[in-house]
Symmetry: C2
Amino acid sequence: MERSVLSLGAPRAERADAVRNRQHLLATAREMLAEQCGADSLTMDGLAERAKLGKGTVFRRFGTRAGIFQALLDDDEVAFQEQVMAGPPPLGPGAAPLERLIAYGRARIAFLISHSEIARAALDGNQSVPAGTETPLSRAHIRMLLGQMRLEGADLDMLAVQLTAALDGPLLLFLSAADLTEPPGADARIARAWQDLVQRVCGS
Amino acid sequence: MERSVLSLGAPRAERADAVRNRQHLLATAREMLAEQCGADSLTMDGLAERAKLGKGTVFRRFGTRAGIFQALLDDDEVAFQEQVMAGPPPLGPGAAPLERLIAYGRARIAFLISHSEIARAALDGNQSVPAGTETPLSRAHIRMLLGQMRLEGADLDMLAVQLTAALDGPLLLFLSAADLTEPPGADARIARAWQDLVQRVCGS
DNA sequence: CACCTTAACGGACTTTCCCCCGTTTAGTAT
DNA sequence: ATACTAAACGGGGGAAAGTCCGTTAAGGTG
Protein backbone atom coordinates (compact mmCIF):
# COMPACT_ATOMS: atom_id res chain seq x y z
CA MET A 1 0.00 0.00 0.00
CA GLU A 2 1.73 3.16 1.12
CA ARG A 3 4.86 2.30 -0.68
CA SER A 4 7.19 4.13 1.67
CA VAL A 5 7.21 7.09 3.95
CA LEU A 6 10.12 8.58 2.07
CA SER A 7 9.17 10.54 -0.98
CA LEU A 8 10.23 9.12 -4.36
CA GLY A 9 7.92 11.08 -6.53
CA ALA A 10 6.87 9.35 -9.67
CA PRO A 11 7.34 5.66 -10.37
CA ARG A 12 9.37 3.88 -7.73
CA ALA A 13 12.90 3.96 -6.46
CA GLU A 14 15.70 2.33 -8.38
CA ARG A 15 16.09 -1.27 -7.49
CA ALA A 16 18.97 -2.24 -5.24
CA ASP A 17 20.83 -4.36 -7.75
CA ALA A 18 20.46 -1.62 -10.33
CA VAL A 19 22.12 0.84 -8.00
CA ARG A 20 24.91 -1.61 -7.28
CA ASN A 21 25.53 -2.17 -10.96
CA ARG A 22 25.52 1.54 -11.74
CA GLN A 23 28.16 2.16 -9.10
CA HIS A 24 30.18 -0.80 -10.26
CA LEU A 25 30.05 0.33 -13.87
CA LEU A 26 31.06 3.86 -13.00
CA ALA A 27 33.96 2.62 -10.93
CA THR A 28 35.07 0.27 -13.67
CA ALA A 29 34.86 3.05 -16.21
CA ARG A 30 37.09 5.23 -14.06
CA GLU A 31 39.58 2.43 -13.77
CA MET A 32 39.73 1.95 -17.50
CA LEU A 33 40.04 5.68 -18.06
CA ALA A 34 42.84 5.91 -15.55
CA GLU A 35 44.83 3.02 -16.93
CA GLN A 36 44.93 3.48 -20.65
CA CYS A 37 44.48 7.19 -20.92
CA GLY A 38 42.51 8.18 -23.95
CA ALA A 39 38.92 9.20 -24.06
CA ASP A 40 37.59 6.91 -26.68
CA SER A 41 39.41 3.74 -25.82
CA LEU A 42 36.46 3.16 -23.53
CA THR A 43 34.02 1.04 -25.46
CA MET A 44 30.68 -0.25 -24.34
CA ASP A 45 31.64 -3.83 -25.03
CA GLY A 46 34.93 -3.42 -23.24
CA LEU A 47 33.27 -1.89 -20.24
CA ALA A 48 30.65 -4.62 -20.08
CA GLU A 49 33.23 -7.35 -20.34
CA ARG A 50 35.53 -5.85 -17.75
CA ALA A 51 32.65 -5.29 -15.36
CA LYS A 52 31.49 -8.87 -15.91
CA LEU A 53 28.07 -7.67 -16.98
CA GLY A 54 26.00 -7.96 -20.12
CA LYS A 55 26.09 -5.28 -22.73
CA GLY A 56 22.36 -4.82 -22.41
CA THR A 57 22.82 -3.83 -18.81
CA VAL A 58 25.29 -1.12 -19.68
CA PHE A 59 22.90 0.36 -22.20
CA ARG A 60 19.96 0.06 -19.85
CA ARG A 61 21.82 2.05 -17.22
CA PHE A 62 23.28 4.78 -19.39
CA GLY A 63 21.26 4.73 -22.56
CA THR A 64 24.11 5.76 -24.75
CA ARG A 65 27.84 6.01 -24.78
CA ALA A 66 27.74 9.71 -24.04
CA GLY A 67 25.49 8.88 -21.11
CA ILE A 68 28.35 7.22 -19.31
CA PHE A 69 30.48 10.32 -19.51
CA GLN A 70 27.61 12.50 -18.42
CA ALA A 71 27.07 10.25 -15.45
CA LEU A 72 30.75 10.42 -14.63
CA LEU A 73 30.65 14.18 -14.88
CA ASP A 74 27.50 14.53 -12.80
CA ASP A 75 29.16 12.39 -10.20
CA ASP A 76 32.19 14.64 -9.92
CA GLU A 77 30.04 17.70 -10.11
CA VAL A 78 28.43 16.86 -6.82
CA ALA A 79 31.57 17.66 -4.89
CA PHE A 80 31.95 20.82 -6.90
CA GLN A 81 28.40 21.93 -6.19
CA GLU A 82 29.02 21.27 -2.54
CA GLN A 83 31.63 24.00 -2.55
CA VAL A 84 29.32 26.33 -4.39
CA MET A 85 26.29 25.81 -2.18
CA ALA A 86 27.94 25.70 1.19
CA GLY A 87 31.62 26.45 0.86
CA PRO A 88 33.70 29.40 2.01
CA PRO A 89 32.60 32.85 0.86
CA PRO A 90 34.11 33.99 -2.36
CA LEU A 91 32.58 30.96 -4.03
CA GLY A 92 30.02 29.94 -1.44
CA PRO A 93 27.34 32.14 0.09
CA GLY A 94 28.33 35.23 2.01
CA ALA A 95 29.90 37.40 -0.66
CA ALA A 96 28.32 39.90 -3.01
CA PRO A 97 26.60 38.35 -6.03
CA LEU A 98 29.08 39.79 -8.50
CA GLU A 99 31.99 38.46 -6.47
CA ARG A 100 30.39 35.08 -6.37
CA LEU A 101 29.74 35.11 -10.08
CA ILE A 102 33.38 35.83 -10.80
CA ALA A 103 34.51 33.20 -8.36
CA TYR A 104 32.09 30.72 -9.84
CA GLY A 105 33.45 31.25 -13.31
CA ARG A 106 36.97 30.80 -12.11
CA ALA A 107 36.09 27.60 -10.32
CA ARG A 108 34.11 26.19 -13.19
CA ILE A 109 36.91 26.89 -15.63
CA ALA A 110 39.27 24.94 -13.43
CA PHE A 111 36.74 22.15 -13.13
CA LEU A 112 36.15 21.90 -16.84
CA ILE A 113 39.82 22.01 -17.70
CA SER A 114 40.53 19.18 -15.34
CA HIS A 115 37.65 17.24 -16.85
CA SER A 116 37.92 18.36 -20.44
CA GLU A 117 38.43 14.87 -21.76
CA ILE A 118 35.29 13.55 -20.13
CA ALA A 119 33.33 16.69 -20.78
CA ARG A 120 33.99 16.55 -24.48
CA ALA A 121 33.05 12.91 -24.63
CA ALA A 122 29.78 13.68 -22.89
CA LEU A 123 28.79 15.84 -25.83
CA ASP A 124 27.35 13.72 -28.57
CA GLY A 125 24.76 13.86 -31.20
CA ASN A 126 21.87 12.29 -29.32
CA GLN A 127 21.35 12.49 -25.62
CA SER A 128 17.83 13.10 -24.38
CA VAL A 129 16.72 9.73 -23.16
CA PRO A 130 17.91 8.88 -19.71
CA ALA A 131 21.01 10.67 -18.55
CA GLY A 132 21.62 14.06 -20.08
CA THR A 133 21.18 17.00 -17.77
CA GLU A 134 22.51 19.75 -19.96
CA THR A 135 24.56 21.77 -17.49
CA PRO A 136 21.45 22.85 -15.61
CA LEU A 137 23.22 23.36 -12.33
CA SER A 138 25.58 25.88 -13.78
CA ARG A 139 22.81 27.77 -15.46
CA ALA A 140 20.58 27.70 -12.40
CA HIS A 141 23.32 29.00 -10.19
CA ILE A 142 24.17 31.84 -12.54
CA ARG A 143 20.48 32.61 -12.84
CA MET A 144 20.17 32.84 -9.09
CA LEU A 145 23.12 35.17 -8.73
CA LEU A 146 21.81 37.39 -11.49
CA GLY A 147 18.51 37.56 -9.68
CA GLN A 148 20.24 38.98 -6.65
CA MET A 149 21.63 41.90 -8.61
CA ARG A 150 19.93 45.04 -9.73
CA LEU A 151 19.79 44.52 -13.45
CA GLU A 152 16.91 46.53 -14.79
CA GLY A 153 15.12 45.50 -17.90
CA ALA A 154 17.03 42.32 -18.58
CA ASP A 155 15.76 38.90 -19.58
CA LEU A 156 17.51 37.15 -16.75
CA ASP A 157 16.72 33.63 -17.87
CA MET A 158 18.15 34.30 -21.28
CA LEU A 159 21.12 36.14 -19.87
CA ALA A 160 21.89 33.14 -17.72
CA VAL A 161 21.85 30.94 -20.77
CA GLN A 162 24.15 33.31 -22.61
CA LEU A 163 26.62 33.53 -19.77
CA THR A 164 26.62 29.79 -19.31
CA ALA A 165 27.41 29.39 -22.96
CA ALA A 166 30.08 32.08 -22.80
CA LEU A 167 31.63 30.20 -19.92
CA ASP A 168 31.43 26.65 -21.20
CA GLY A 169 31.61 27.33 -24.90
CA PRO A 170 35.19 28.49 -25.09
CA LEU A 171 36.27 25.40 -23.26
CA LEU A 172 34.12 22.76 -24.84
CA LEU A 173 33.66 23.85 -28.37
CA PHE A 174 35.92 26.63 -29.40
CA LEU A 175 39.26 25.55 -28.10
CA SER A 176 40.88 22.30 -28.99
CA ALA A 177 42.12 20.03 -26.28
CA ALA A 178 45.69 20.92 -27.12
CA ASP A 179 45.07 24.62 -26.58
CA LEU A 180 43.67 23.95 -23.15
CA THR A 181 46.73 22.62 -21.45
CA GLU A 182 49.54 23.80 -23.63
CA PRO A 183 49.81 27.55 -23.12
CA PRO A 184 50.49 27.58 -19.41
CA GLY A 185 48.51 30.73 -18.72
CA ALA A 186 45.47 29.78 -20.71
CA ASP A 187 43.22 29.19 -17.74
CA ALA A 188 44.26 32.48 -16.18
CA ARG A 189 43.49 34.24 -19.40
CA ILE A 190 40.07 32.67 -19.67
CA ALA A 191 39.39 33.54 -16.06
CA ARG A 192 40.37 37.16 -16.61
CA ALA A 193 38.19 37.33 -19.67
CA TRP A 194 35.28 35.92 -17.71
CA GLN A 195 35.72 38.49 -14.97
CA ASP A 196 35.88 41.25 -17.54
CA LEU A 197 32.76 39.99 -19.26
CA VAL A 198 30.58 39.79 -16.20
CA GLN A 199 31.78 43.14 -14.94
CA ARG A 200 30.78 44.69 -18.22
CA VAL A 201 27.45 42.93 -18.25
CA CYS A 202 26.60 43.76 -14.67
CA GLY A 203 27.81 47.33 -14.75
CA SER A 204 31.49 47.26 -13.66
CA MET B 1 56.99 24.40 -64.55
CA GLU B 2 55.08 27.40 -63.33
CA ARG B 3 52.07 25.42 -62.37
CA SER B 4 49.57 28.17 -62.99
CA VAL B 5 49.30 31.91 -62.95
CA LEU B 6 46.48 31.70 -60.45
CA SER B 7 47.57 31.38 -56.87
CA LEU B 8 46.71 28.12 -55.07
CA GLY B 9 48.91 28.51 -52.07
CA ALA B 10 50.20 25.36 -50.52
CA PRO B 11 50.02 21.95 -52.17
CA ARG B 12 47.98 22.02 -55.33
CA ALA B 13 44.40 22.70 -56.29
CA GLU B 14 41.71 20.10 -55.90
CA ARG B 15 41.46 17.90 -58.89
CA ALA B 16 38.61 18.48 -61.30
CA ASP B 17 36.87 15.16 -60.79
CA ALA B 18 37.17 15.61 -57.06
CA VAL B 19 35.37 18.92 -57.29
CA ARG B 20 32.68 17.38 -59.43
CA ASN B 21 32.16 14.56 -57.02
CA ARG B 22 32.03 16.88 -54.03
CA GLN B 23 29.33 18.95 -55.68
CA HIS B 24 27.44 15.88 -56.72
CA LEU B 25 27.60 14.41 -53.23
CA LEU B 26 26.46 17.63 -51.64
CA ALA B 27 23.56 17.89 -54.05
CA THR B 28 22.58 14.29 -53.47
CA ALA B 29 22.74 14.80 -49.74
CA ARG B 30 20.40 17.76 -50.03
CA GLU B 31 17.98 15.70 -52.06
CA MET B 32 17.92 12.94 -49.50
CA LEU B 33 17.50 15.42 -46.69
CA ALA B 34 14.65 17.10 -48.50
CA GLU B 35 12.78 13.91 -49.29
CA GLN B 36 12.75 11.87 -46.15
CA CYS B 37 13.08 14.58 -43.58
CA GLY B 38 15.05 13.48 -40.59
CA ALA B 39 18.62 14.35 -39.86
CA ASP B 40 20.05 10.94 -39.26
CA SER B 41 18.32 8.99 -41.97
CA LEU B 42 21.23 10.11 -44.07
CA THR B 43 23.82 7.37 -43.89
CA MET B 44 27.18 7.27 -45.56
CA ASP B 45 26.39 4.03 -47.32
CA GLY B 46 23.04 5.34 -48.46
CA LEU B 47 24.57 8.50 -49.80
CA ALA B 48 27.27 6.61 -51.65
CA GLU B 49 24.80 4.25 -53.20
CA ARG B 50 22.41 6.96 -54.26
CA ALA B 51 25.22 9.05 -55.71
CA LYS B 52 26.50 5.99 -57.57
CA LEU B 53 29.89 6.37 -55.95
CA GLY B 54 32.03 4.22 -53.75
CA LYS B 55 31.84 4.47 -50.01
CA GLY B 56 35.53 5.22 -49.87
CA THR B 57 35.02 8.28 -52.03
CA VAL B 58 32.49 9.73 -49.68
CA PHE B 59 34.84 9.34 -46.75
CA ARG B 60 37.77 10.71 -48.71
CA ARG B 61 35.81 13.85 -49.49
CA PHE B 62 34.32 14.50 -46.08
CA GLY B 63 36.40 12.51 -43.67
CA THR B 64 33.56 11.80 -41.34
CA ARG B 65 29.82 11.81 -41.17
CA ALA B 66 29.77 15.14 -39.40
CA GLY B 67 32.00 16.45 -42.14
CA ILE B 68 29.16 16.22 -44.62
CA PHE B 69 26.94 18.40 -42.51
CA GLN B 70 29.73 20.86 -41.93
CA ALA B 71 30.31 21.06 -45.65
CA LEU B 72 26.60 21.60 -46.20
CA LEU B 73 26.62 24.33 -43.63
CA ASP B 74 29.72 26.01 -45.00
CA ASP B 75 28.10 25.96 -48.38
CA ASP B 76 25.04 27.80 -47.21
CA GLU B 77 27.12 30.10 -45.11
CA VAL B 78 28.75 31.53 -48.19
CA ALA B 79 25.57 33.27 -49.25
CA PHE B 80 25.12 34.47 -45.71
CA GLN B 81 28.62 35.90 -45.54
CA GLU B 82 27.97 37.63 -48.82
CA GLN B 83 25.31 39.67 -47.11
CA VAL B 84 27.57 40.41 -44.21
CA MET B 85 30.58 41.46 -46.23
CA ALA B 86 28.91 43.44 -48.94
CA GLY B 87 25.22 43.74 -48.24
CA PRO B 88 23.05 46.71 -47.29
CA PRO B 89 24.09 48.71 -44.22
CA PRO B 90 22.60 47.53 -41.02
CA LEU B 91 24.21 44.15 -41.61
CA GLY B 92 26.77 45.03 -44.24
CA PRO B 93 29.39 47.79 -44.05
CA GLY B 94 28.31 51.38 -43.61
CA ALA B 95 26.73 51.34 -40.16
CA ALA B 96 28.27 51.85 -36.77
CA PRO B 97 30.05 48.77 -35.37
CA LEU B 98 27.56 48.28 -32.56
CA GLU B 99 24.67 48.45 -34.99
CA ARG B 100 26.34 45.92 -37.19
CA LEU B 101 27.02 43.63 -34.29
CA ILE B 102 23.38 43.66 -33.29
CA ALA B 103 22.28 43.11 -36.86
CA TYR B 104 24.76 40.31 -37.25
CA GLY B 105 23.43 38.51 -34.22
CA ARG B 106 19.90 38.83 -35.46
CA ALA B 107 20.85 37.48 -38.86
CA ARG B 108 22.87 34.63 -37.49
CA ILE B 109 20.08 33.59 -35.17
CA ALA B 110 17.74 33.38 -38.11
CA PHE B 111 20.32 31.45 -40.08
CA LEU B 112 20.95 28.95 -37.35
CA ILE B 113 17.29 28.41 -36.65
CA SER B 114 16.63 27.65 -40.28
CA HIS B 115 19.56 25.25 -40.28
CA SER B 116 19.27 23.83 -36.81
CA GLU B 117 18.86 20.28 -38.00
CA ILE B 118 22.04 20.36 -40.05
CA ALA B 119 23.91 22.43 -37.51
CA ARG B 120 23.27 19.93 -34.77
CA ALA B 121 24.33 17.06 -36.97
CA ALA B 122 27.57 18.87 -37.76
CA LEU B 123 28.51 18.64 -34.10
CA ASP B 124 30.14 15.35 -33.34
CA GLY B 125 32.81 13.88 -31.21
CA ASN B 126 35.73 14.10 -33.61
CA GLN B 127 36.16 16.71 -36.24
CA SER B 128 39.58 18.26 -36.77
CA VAL B 129 40.92 16.31 -39.67
CA PRO B 130 39.71 17.56 -43.00
CA ALA B 131 36.49 19.47 -42.93
CA GLY B 132 35.70 21.21 -39.70
CA THR B 133 36.09 24.94 -39.66
CA GLU B 134 34.66 25.65 -36.25
CA THR B 135 32.56 28.73 -36.88
CA PRO B 136 35.61 30.82 -37.63
CA LEU B 137 33.80 33.26 -39.86
CA SER B 138 31.41 34.22 -37.16
CA ARG B 139 34.16 34.70 -34.64
CA ALA B 140 36.36 36.61 -37.06
CA HIS B 141 33.57 38.96 -37.98
CA ILE B 142 32.68 39.67 -34.38
CA ARG B 143 36.35 40.15 -33.63
CA MET B 144 36.61 42.70 -36.40
CA LEU B 145 33.62 44.67 -35.24
CA LEU B 146 34.91 44.70 -31.70
CA GLY B 147 38.20 46.06 -32.98
CA GLN B 148 36.40 49.02 -34.45
CA MET B 149 34.94 50.02 -31.10
CA ARG B 150 36.60 51.79 -28.25
CA LEU B 151 36.80 49.05 -25.68
CA GLU B 152 39.63 49.82 -23.36
CA GLY B 153 41.48 47.10 -21.57
CA ALA B 154 39.65 44.16 -23.04
CA ASP B 155 41.00 40.91 -24.41
CA LEU B 156 39.26 41.29 -27.71
CA ASP B 157 40.13 37.85 -29.05
CA MET B 158 38.73 36.20 -25.99
CA LEU B 159 35.71 38.45 -25.94
CA ALA B 160 34.99 37.46 -29.51
CA VAL B 161 35.09 33.82 -28.52
CA GLN B 162 32.76 34.47 -25.63
CA LEU B 163 30.27 36.37 -27.71
CA THR B 164 30.34 33.75 -30.42
CA ALA B 165 29.59 31.13 -27.84
CA ALA B 166 26.86 33.25 -26.30
CA LEU B 167 25.32 33.57 -29.73
CA ASP B 168 25.60 30.01 -30.96
CA GLY B 169 25.45 28.19 -27.67
CA PRO B 170 21.86 28.90 -26.76
CA LEU B 171 20.78 27.64 -30.12
CA LEU B 172 22.96 24.61 -30.54
CA LEU B 173 23.31 23.26 -27.08
CA PHE B 174 20.90 24.77 -24.67
CA LEU B 175 17.64 24.64 -26.49
CA SER B 176 16.20 21.46 -27.83
CA ALA B 177 15.04 21.36 -31.40
CA ALA B 178 11.44 21.44 -30.25
CA ASP B 179 11.89 24.64 -28.30
CA LEU B 180 13.35 26.39 -31.29
CA THR B 181 10.33 26.42 -33.52
CA GLU B 182 7.51 25.88 -31.10
CA PRO B 183 7.19 29.11 -29.11
CA PRO B 184 6.48 31.48 -31.94
CA GLY B 185 8.41 34.39 -30.48
CA ALA B 186 11.50 32.46 -29.50
CA ASP B 187 13.73 33.93 -32.15
CA ALA B 188 12.61 37.44 -31.31
CA ARG B 189 13.35 36.80 -27.68
CA ILE B 190 16.82 35.50 -28.43
CA ALA B 191 17.46 38.46 -30.69
CA ARG B 192 16.41 40.91 -27.99
CA ALA B 193 18.61 39.14 -25.49
CA TRP B 194 21.53 39.37 -27.89
CA GLN B 195 21.01 43.06 -28.39
CA ASP B 196 20.82 43.58 -24.66
CA LEU B 197 23.98 41.60 -24.10
CA VAL B 198 26.15 43.41 -26.59
CA GLN B 199 24.86 46.79 -25.47
CA ARG B 200 25.85 45.95 -21.94
CA VAL B 201 29.23 44.64 -22.99
CA CYS B 202 30.04 47.54 -25.26
CA GLY B 203 28.72 50.25 -22.97
CA SER B 204 25.05 50.78 -23.87
C1' DC C 1 6.50 -18.70 3.75
C1' DA C 2 4.86 -19.17 -1.02
C1' DC C 3 3.38 -16.39 -4.83
C1' DC C 4 3.17 -12.73 -8.15
C1' DT C 5 4.33 -8.64 -10.54
C1' DT C 6 7.54 -5.89 -12.42
C1' DA C 7 11.92 -4.47 -13.50
C1' DA C 8 16.75 -5.80 -14.45
C1' DC C 9 19.81 -8.90 -16.85
C1' DG C 10 22.30 -11.11 -20.78
C1' DG C 11 23.98 -11.65 -25.09
C1' DA C 12 23.06 -12.44 -29.92
C1' DC C 13 21.83 -9.48 -33.88
C1' DT C 14 21.61 -5.41 -36.85
C1' DT C 15 23.22 -1.20 -38.45
C1' DT C 16 26.52 2.08 -39.55
C1' DC C 17 30.82 4.34 -39.22
C1' DC C 18 35.31 4.33 -40.86
C1' DC C 19 39.99 2.17 -42.42
C1' DC C 20 42.72 0.05 -45.85
C1' DC C 21 44.83 -0.90 -50.00
C1' DG C 22 44.74 -2.36 -54.77
C1' DT C 23 43.10 -0.14 -59.08
C1' DT C 24 42.08 3.66 -62.12
C1' DT C 25 42.46 8.15 -63.99
C1' DA C 26 43.43 13.27 -64.18
C1' DG C 27 47.07 16.49 -65.10
C1' DT C 28 51.68 17.46 -66.62
C1' DA C 29 56.33 17.26 -68.61
C1' DT C 30 59.07 15.42 -72.41
C1' DA D 1 51.26 11.86 -78.48
C1' DT D 2 53.19 9.21 -74.76
C1' DA D 3 54.82 8.23 -70.38
C1' DC D 4 54.89 9.23 -65.60
C1' DT D 5 53.23 10.53 -61.04
C1' DA D 6 50.32 11.77 -57.65
C1' DA D 7 45.79 11.88 -56.43
C1' DA D 8 41.02 9.92 -56.57
C1' DC D 9 38.11 5.88 -56.81
C1' DG D 10 35.97 1.43 -55.13
C1' DG D 11 34.22 -1.72 -52.14
C1' DG D 12 35.45 -5.44 -48.78
C1' DG D 13 36.02 -5.86 -43.84
C1' DG D 14 36.61 -4.84 -38.90
C1' DA D 15 34.83 -2.64 -34.88
C1' DA D 16 31.76 -0.49 -32.12
C1' DA D 17 26.97 1.47 -31.07
C1' DG D 18 22.51 0.49 -30.13
C1' DT D 19 18.15 -2.92 -30.24
C1' DC D 20 15.29 -6.90 -28.97
C1' DC D 21 13.38 -10.28 -26.43
C1' DG D 22 13.57 -14.37 -23.67
C1' DT D 23 15.20 -15.30 -18.90
C1' DT D 24 16.08 -14.33 -14.04
C1' DA D 25 15.43 -12.54 -9.68
C1' DA D 26 14.22 -8.51 -6.47
C1' DG D 27 10.73 -6.71 -3.56
C1' DG D 28 6.27 -6.63 -2.08
C1' DT D 29 1.53 -9.09 -0.80
C1' DG D 30 -1.72 -12.34 1.36
